[in-house]
Symmetry: C2
Subunit: 308 residues, 2 copies
């Protein structure tokens, strides 16, 4: 059970109706890695940072036994930075500042030890970079999960189509699924996207839950209804990291187990939004996790009989 | 097991991206009554129509053993008419024409035989009319379900507050729940609305499913993901009619049974949108219903163990 996660390790600065975070730890690989570390130890991160990235943040990875040999530190470089402000509904946000910095020169080289990893998560990055990672794998992973976004559909369509052919699970949101497929109906969109390569598709609908399509079946997990969403940043990456972390830990990629993985991913995402940044997903106890999953059970499970 | 449904019986004219319906049978009591008739026979409708309402449409009620003695026919009057056009996403629509006609003089008088009915559904009408119905009940029903909308929150707040005190289940959509409570979080909204009277709250989120709040618990049912939504008109009333019809048939208003009722209501709503108007909910076989409910089972049910 080994898991390789490629994505951003970054600084975020967040403004929500509840307050301002200041400069904190962020990035897709950060959220996905820390989320997955709730299930397993042997996680390898591949990313790029500048010299300004604090040792204290790196220690957060090490405390979770996350292997950071794949994180390149650029001498004199500055770490990718994003600043955003959430509107009152917490569902929409404005980007106030984006500084690519060292991310502009991200050209991942996998350490030898990472090239036979069984589970691979390709975070939202340019499709060419995602392909470069796949090309360096010596053994085809048991499962490849890829995240992408509308920006790459607009700007790197051909490269995206190439990399999609090589992945097993695609995770995107509902608008992206519609854009990628040209279909409004998510059921039709899923059928079309399946012809592009991924055998499984997860459509993330934020507060409206997530749909898993595959093997001719559909599974739906709601988002947990919460009194308060404090900071939605990273919820999608946390979900994806929880999903693949659960699968990698159990080494079972059966559809039934994927359903469970979707529930565990949703549970982790529901913790994520309770505090700023990675604060909450870094302090979940086993008991809290089980209790949260039980909340999903009581939220969704029912019994019917043919007598009804 | 008796069920009284008060609401509109009307003409609709619908324009969707798939075509135009022409003038067809519509109205909240129509959809709710026909939906409920999939579970039981003893359904009483209270509404008002004009002389222009075709005998053929009335026969659709009688074929389902629905008692129409409570539908007042106004001599020389014209039936309530609504014309609407759906946008391409099928989630938003424009009202093109609304003719209240006889509905403006709706002052329901319950036939003697209706005054001890056990289950009561008050469709979306002015709160004063809903109250008038409640006042005529000789025995307090076992369960009162009330539907309302933002228009009455804007225009009849005090009357709405009065009638809410007297109902058990309120069904509204998410925007209406937010307006009624002044809370954006649906969990907080539900808590606030519980203090207004209804012990149970159903928040209908259309394609995003429905939430049932009550007894300190939350249950969620997704909408069935469909290849095509042909006509969403009446889906909410069909859901509500299915919900109360299932409960009235089983005579069990336990929270566990309410969960089932939400699933059956959602199943009926998923049929409703497949064709124009009431066409589809009027031709559901028992086998189709069970098959549809099984689709909800496979869509939502999963198994977790403490070993995960």
């Amino acid at each position: 059970m080994s898991l390789l996660i490629v994505g951003t390790v970054a600084f975020d600065e967040l403004i929500t109706p509840f307050g301002e975070s200041g400069r904190i730890m962020g990035g897709s690989a950060t959220y996905a890695g820390l989320a997955a570390s709730n299930f397993m130890n042997d996680i390898q991160l591949v990313s790029i940072i500048g010299e300004d990235f604090p040792e204290e943040y790196m220690d957060r990875f090490h405390k979770r036994q996350i292997d950071t040999r794949g994180i390149r530190v650029v001498e004199g470089g500055k770490t990718f930075f994003w600043k955003g402000k959430y509107h009152n509904d917490m569902n929409t946000r404005d980007s106030l500042d984006t500084q690519l910095n060292v991310l502009a020169e991200f050209d991942p080289v996998l350490p030898e030890a990472y090239r036979n990893t069984e589970f691979l998560m390709l975070g939202n990055l340019t499709p060419a970079v995602q392909m470069k990672v796949l090309d360096q794998m010596e053994t085809r992973p048991k499962l490849v999960v890829l995240d992408t976004m509308n920006f790459w559909m607009d700007n790197s369509w051909d490269e995206l189509m190439e990399v999609l052919k090589k992945v097993d699970v695609l995770t995107i949101n509902d608008e992206e699924a519609r854009q990628l497929s040209g279909e409004y109906s998510l059921v039709k969109a899923a059928k079309k996207i399946a012809t592009m390569g991924p055998k499984y598709l997860i459509i993330k609908k934020g507060e409206h839950g997530a749909l898993l399509f595959g093997e001719g079946e559909i599974f739906f997990a709601p988002a947990l209804p919460l009194e308060e969403v404090f900071d939605p940043t990273g919820a999608g990456d946390t979900f994806a990291g929880g999903f693949i972390g659960f699968l990698a830990h159990s080494r079972d990629i059966d559809f039934e187990n994927m359903k469970r993985a979707v529930i565990y991913g949703s549970a982790l995402a529901s913790f994520c939004v309770e505090k700023f940044g990675v604060q909450r997903i870094n302090q979940i106890t086993r008991e809290e996790m089980h209790q949260r999953v039980q909340e999903f059970v009581s939220l969704t499970q029912f019994e019917v009989t043919l007598q009804d």
